[in-house]
């Protein structure tokens, strides 16, 4: 791990990039997806899954204590040697390679709908892909440090949209209070903790942020702030777009931005949305591409990750245009959001529990 010794960054930077990876769904379809499950109680479902995610991270954090500085691949190796590492690596790779093209396709298609209406899809895909490739070549440190600058700007823009649309809220819109019912919310809605799938990044940032204290800080900050952003977004959206009207909305936060208007002068705030939206999409997709190349390199103990960037970009581009249309891509994301919790929360818990019972074999002399 040549990189491990060279690159380190603080918990603020690591939190920023993790929050980006988790919360970008807000700009896609999260408020609508929550409303589709819980109807008028979408805000309640969001609060519920955020609390579950926090509890699960609490468990993971406790279990991680003896394994300071180790990522999921190191844990796999600790348990099952090379085979263990490769199995874990392949699971994570499949997870990342499934979602990256879907997100790339969704962002590009949405961009075509709201801004670049006449540009060919392949051009918009390449527009994002170029940014992803450049960022991945620049490396983790560049992406993470850039996120520390951009994420606060995105957060301010997001809060401006939210506060600007506050005058349209009506509390009767989130009634009946329990919407689709307790069973739908608390039982069927539980797999929606997959909205925190981006927390997987924290496990791979561990070698870079080094200390257990930093890991805990980054993990909790990411879950708490992401949960808060989710909750605010879903609550405000539900207070403005009642059920079932909200389930018709394709890009919920964009719709909120279109509502913002103060007098005849302050209008058309959605242009600001496009800026923060593209910035967060580029960061999100860049870190995903980097992660794919990095996990592949580490899984198969390769020396460099950079030569993998272009091949993986081509694979991602090909998979992105594989879906017949945007609705198929959204359908693929729905499946992901149902099962992603298994890789994000279940896999680390299982690995950490098993790792506690596995004794590290004594290293042979000269082995690094």
């Amino acid at each position: 791990m040549a990189m491990k010794n060279k690159i380190t960054f603080g918990s603020f930077e690591a939190s920023c990039i993790t929050i980006t990876l988790i919360t970008t769904q807000l700009f896609l379809n999260l408020p609508r997806a929550m409303m589709e499950v819980a109807w008028t109680a979408a805000w309640l479902l969001t609060a519920y899954v955020s609390v579950i995610a926090l509890l699960l991270f609490f468990i993971i954090d406790r279990l991680y204590r003896p394994f300071e500085g180790k990522d999921l691949l190191d844990l796999g190796e600790h348990i099952g040697g090379n085979i263990g590492r490769i199995i874990v690596g392949i699971i994570v790779l499949l997870f990342l390679i499934y979602i990256t093209p879907v997100i790339l396709r969704e962002f590009s298609e949405n961009m075509k709908i709201i801004a670049l209406t006449r540009s060919p899809l392949s051009f918009v895909l390449l527009f994002f892909l170029t940014g992803m490739i450049i960022a991945s070549y620049a490396g983790l440190e560049s992406i993470v440090r850039l996120s520390a600058i951009i994420v606060p700007i995105i957060a301010v823009g997001y809060l401006m949209i939210i506060t600007g649309s506050l005058r349209y809220i009506d509390f009767s819109r989130i009634t009946p209070w329990l919407g689709s019912g307790p069973y739908e919310i608390f039982v069927k809605g539980a797999p929606r903790i997959s909205v925190f799938a981006g927390i997987i990044l924290v496990y791979f940032l561990y070698p870079f942020i080094r200390t257990k204290k930093n890991f805990t800080t980054v993990g909790y900050a990411s879950v708490v702030f992401s949960g808060l952003f989710f909750f605010i977004g879903v609550l405000i959206f539900s207070l403005i777009f009642q059920y079932p009207t909200g389930t018709e909305s394709f890009l919920p936060i964009y719709e909120l931005a279109r509502l913002v208007e103060y007098g005849r002068f302050f209008q058309r705030l959605e242009s600001m949305f496009v800026i923060i939206w593209v910035a967060s999409a580029l960061l999100h997709l860049s870190i995903l591409l980097f992660l794919i190349a990095y996990v592949f390199k580490k899984t198969f103990k390769l020396k460099y990750y950079k030569p993998l960037i272009i091949p993986f970009s081509i694979i991602i581009f090909s998979l992105a245009i594989f879906s017949h249309n945007l609705l198929s891509a959204i359908e693929l994301e729905k499946h992901f959001r149902t099962f992603a919790w298994m890789v994000t929360f279940l896999l680390p818990i299982v690995l950490l529990i098993i790792a506690r019972f596995v004794k590290q074999p004594a290293k042979k002399e000269g082995e690094s």
Binding site: I114, F171, P176, W177, L178, Q242
Partner: protein
């Protein structure tokens, strides 16, 4: 050397990028629509009328600032294609301020058109939805701005006049769309029309609604759009609201009823209201009324029929006392407050009873009931909009007169016949 080559390549690439997109559209390459009118077609589904802004005329201030065209078309977007064939610029709806439906079309249902607009990114939620008492084409052709060269601003200000008249309402596209899909209230649109009068001698009291309301003479709000006794440079006018049941227009309300609707709905801001003088029925007291607090609603289901109660709190300033009676006196002010309360309450009950057979819960009583339910399925079983027709209403109006204007008492004029107020 390598650095110089890289620098040169970057400069060349940047210069190519800085020229902007090859397929970009300049502002002056688009035809901006400011009003869209939809009527039933004779030979096809729709007659679509577009009012286009003429930017060069707006800036120069000379000549008409708009141009109007009408096509017969099967659908809204097909009509756009047709229009794009004969106007030199591409039609753009991003500055469209109003969509007008003819009454005939609105009575058949317009939810599909509303959906088409919500789905299209060019249409903005802030544009107004209106129903024309005549044809939409006629309204748009007659909507020529007089005081404002910018037609878009003119529409915007005209349709926002409800903020200081109370005679229409907030009928933006987003508002209309949300209300139309709500299970606890119904949508409404601004009522617009074309005035028939060429001369003030032609004014006809039959065009007022005052008799059916029991008024002695027409009050300022006792008119539907297109019936206001006025002569002015522009024939178009906005007055009253059209009520919808789902996406279908089911009734219309005049200006005064629209004002009471706003008071009960909670969007009322302020306006002048004429109250028959309690001491002299031939005279009026004019009040500048504003909403003191948001109205509160309460719904109770008794024998499966709703009892809807509303409390409306208003504040007022005295603007004119025609009789000269000293209502400014703290002993007499109560008489005026009671008279105002009675006048407004009577009008509100009349308005609410009119909404009942239309199943048009325009004031949102259903919101209060909905908040009492825990599960959506339970709420749906209530069938509120159906039950609304069995409603009974109680209205409690409170008017507090806060200020007497710039006069604290009304002194009569001194003449040969003694003290007079005329």
């Amino acid at each position: 050397m390598n650095k110089k080559i890289v620098f040169l390549i970057l400069v060349i690439l940047s210069s190519a990028l800085l020229t902007s997109c090859f397929d970009s559209k300049e502002i002056d390459e688009k035809a901006y629509i400011i009003a869209l009118g939809l009527d039933k077609g004779k030979n096809n589904y729709l007659n679509m009328t577009l009012q286009l802004a003429l930017p060069n005329k707006i800036t120069s201030g000379e000549g008409e600032s708009t141009s109007t065209t009408t096509v017969e078309t099967p659908t809204l977007y097909a009509g756009l294609n047709m229009i794009n064939t004969y106007i030199s610029k591409e039609v753009d709806f991003t500055h469209c301020k109003v969509v007008v439906f003819s009454k005939e079309l609105a009575q058949e249902g317009i939810h599909d058109y509303i959906h088409a607009m919500i789905r299209g990114r060019e249409f903005r939620g802030s544009m107004f939805v209106a129903v024309s008492t005549g044809t939409a084409e006629e309204f748009i052709e007659n909507a020529t701005p007089i005081l404002e060269m910018n037609p878009a601003k003119s529409y915007e200000m005209n349709f926002r006049s409800y903020e200081y008249t109370g005679f229409t309402g907030d009928t933006t596209l987003t508002n209309f769309y949300m209300l139309a899909e709500c299970s606890c209230r119904q949508a409404f649109a601004t009522l617009v029309g074309v005035n028939p009068y060429e001369d003030s001698d032609e004014f006809d009291p039959k065009n007022s609604t005052f008799r059916e309301k029991g008024h002695d003479r027409p009050l300022e709000g006792d008119f539907y759009a297109g019936k206001i006794p006025k002569v002015y440079g522009t024939k178009s006018e906005v007055m009253g609201i059209a009520a919808f049941d789902g996406g279908r227009m089911v009734g219309e309300f005049d200006g005064q009823e629209a004002l009471f609707h706003q008071m009960l709905y909670g969007t009322y801001q302020s306006s002048y209201i004429s109250i028959p003088d309690p001491k002299n029925p031939d005279a009026f007291v004019i009040l500048n009324v504003n909403q003191g607090r948001k109205p509160t609603h309460h719904v109770e289901m008794i024998n499966d029929a709703p009892i809807n109660s509303a409390k409306v709190q208003l504040e007022a300033d005295i603007l004119s006392i025609q009789s000269g009676f000293n209502y400014e006196n703290t002993d007499n002010i109560q008489i005026l407050e009671n008279a105002a309360e009675e006048h407004i309450k009577k009008g509100m009950l009349r308005f609410l009873n009119k909404t009942r057979p239309m199943h048009a819960d325009l004031c949102g009583f259903g919101r209060d009931l909905k908040m009492k339910y825990l599960l959506w399925e339970e709420w749906e079983k209530v069938h509120w909009l159906k039950k609304y027709a069995e409603s009974k209403f109680n209205v409690d109006v409170e008017v507090k007169i806060r200020r007497p204007g710039l006069m604290v008492r009304s002194a009569p004029a001194k003449g040969s016949e003694g003290d007079v107020m005329k």
